[in-house]
């Protein structure tokens, strides 16, 4: 597979994650390059429903390295929550997720406040 890009052609919610899941099984890397926790990607495997916000949905295939690239906006606490949730469902995440130092961080002010 050449370097490929899956992109939403309309206003979002086109079913990108399902297409990524279908062709992504042949990928070595799945990379996000924009957006943040406001994105919601759903993949259904058998009876299990996986919702992704920050982690690339390629995480479901054990051979794929997932990169949260520059251009993204990351809430570190949400990211940890998402990684833990994926791991809790029996998926090995060790050494498979990398986060770009260029990605922007969302402070709690932007995600609802802490007080």
């Amino acid at each position: 597979m050449p370097v490929s890009l899956v992109i939403g052609g309309q206003w979002g919610d086109e079913g990108k994650a399902k297409i990524v899941d279908t062709i992504g099984r042949r990928a070595d890397y799945v990379v996000r390059f924009q957006g943040g926790a406001n994105a919601g990607h759903t993949v259904i495997v058998g009876t299990e429903k996986f919702k992704f916000h920050l982690v690339p949905s390629g995480i479901l295939y054990p051979h794929i390295t997932c990169i949260l690239g520059g251009g993204m906006v990351i809430d570190p606490l949400s990211l940890i929550g998402e990684i833990d949730e994926i791991a809790a469902r029996g998926i090995d995440v060790d050494g498979r997720i990398f986060v770009s130092g260029q990605a922007h961080v969302v402070l709690p002010h932007r995600s609802g406040g802490t007080e």
Binding site: V6, Q34, G70
Partner: protein
């Protein structure tokens, strides 16, 4: 603040974070918003730092090397082209570069590296939140699309606005992103519609328009011109290679109107239901 700031040593990081929070709190106070607890945020972020530190790196050389070694790389876009900060329905847009160029910009790879651009389109249209949506159907048809397509937001649960396929918008997306092939999703949602409409152009005043106008005011005045086709009125099943004749013809019409081939058709949400068209 960026993820690389987590790579400062822990006392430097703490100081940096405290200054950032102080600045933001001043802004929040100015605007009459609640401020944030500095101590609590610092504590949680120091904890997060321990967990995330091993994951943070300059991911660009990883990608450059992967490209040179001819590895398979798939970039996964979020949101949609019409929400792009520059090319979307401004000001009703997201805050990032959603279009194909954004992959190069964000991930730091050369635009020339991307050889295949798969544009994902629903067989109809939806939109969450405010902003122009020329083919929106507010009545019975919109409700039917929402009910069958389960059109509620993944993140927020908000009901999505629904309408007919907009070939003007799609054509613009194909050109903007250099889409080389289309994946058409949720075609089965149209199974029970006796007639189906496709927007082929807009009329703005007396002018016929084939591409999405840049001025949102013009979009609001756009009158979609529709082609009406008969529905297939039967279950498309789970095999995109054996679609009902009228569903096949619907797909062909979309290809012609949009100017790009549809190489994948997805029926239903399960993983196995994604099939390549013949």
């Amino acid at each position: 603040m960026r993820m690389c700031d987590f790579q400062l040593d822990s006392s430097q990081f703490e100081g940096y974070l405290e200054r950032k929070i102080k600045d933001k709190n001043a802004m929040l106070r100015d605007q009459g918003f609640r401020t944030v607890s500095s101590a609590r945020t610092v504590e949680r972020f120091l904890e997060a730092r321990k967990r995330l530190l091993p994951l943070i790196r300059d991911t660009r050389p990883m990608l450059w090397e992967a490209i040179e070694r001819k590895k398979s790389i798939l970039f996964e876009g979020a949101q949609g082209t019409l929400l792009d900060i520059d090319h979307g329905t401004y000001p009703f847009v997201t805050s990032s570069c959603v279009t194909a160029g954004g992959a190069a910009l964000g991930a730091g790879i050369p635009p020339s590296a991307i050889k295949r651009v798969i544009g994902v389109f629903k067989a109809y249209c939806t939109r969450v939140g405010n902003g122009p949506f020329p083919t929106e159907q507010k009545g019975r048809i919109g409700e039917k699309l929402r009910a069958i397509g389960n059109e509620y937001g993944t993140t927020t649960g908000r009901p999505r606005r629904c309408g007919w396929f907009d070939a003007v918008a799609a054509r613009t997306s194909v050109k903007l992103n250099g889409i080389t092939e289309i994946a058409l999703t949720k075609l089965d949602v149209l199974d029970t519609f006796p007639t189906i409409r496709i927007c082929t152009s807009y009329k703005i005043g007396s002018k016929e328009v084939e591409y999405f106008p840049v001025d949102t005011r013009l979009l609001n005045r756009s009158k979609p011109q529709y082609l009406e086709v008969e529905g297939w009125n039967q279950c498309t099943g789970s095999n995109a290679k054996a679609l009902p004749a009228k569903a096949r013809s619907y797909v062909k019409i979309l290809e012609q109107l949009v100017g790009c081939k549809i190489t994948m058709i997805s029926l239903g949400p399960e993983r196995r239901a994604t099939l390549r068209a013949d």
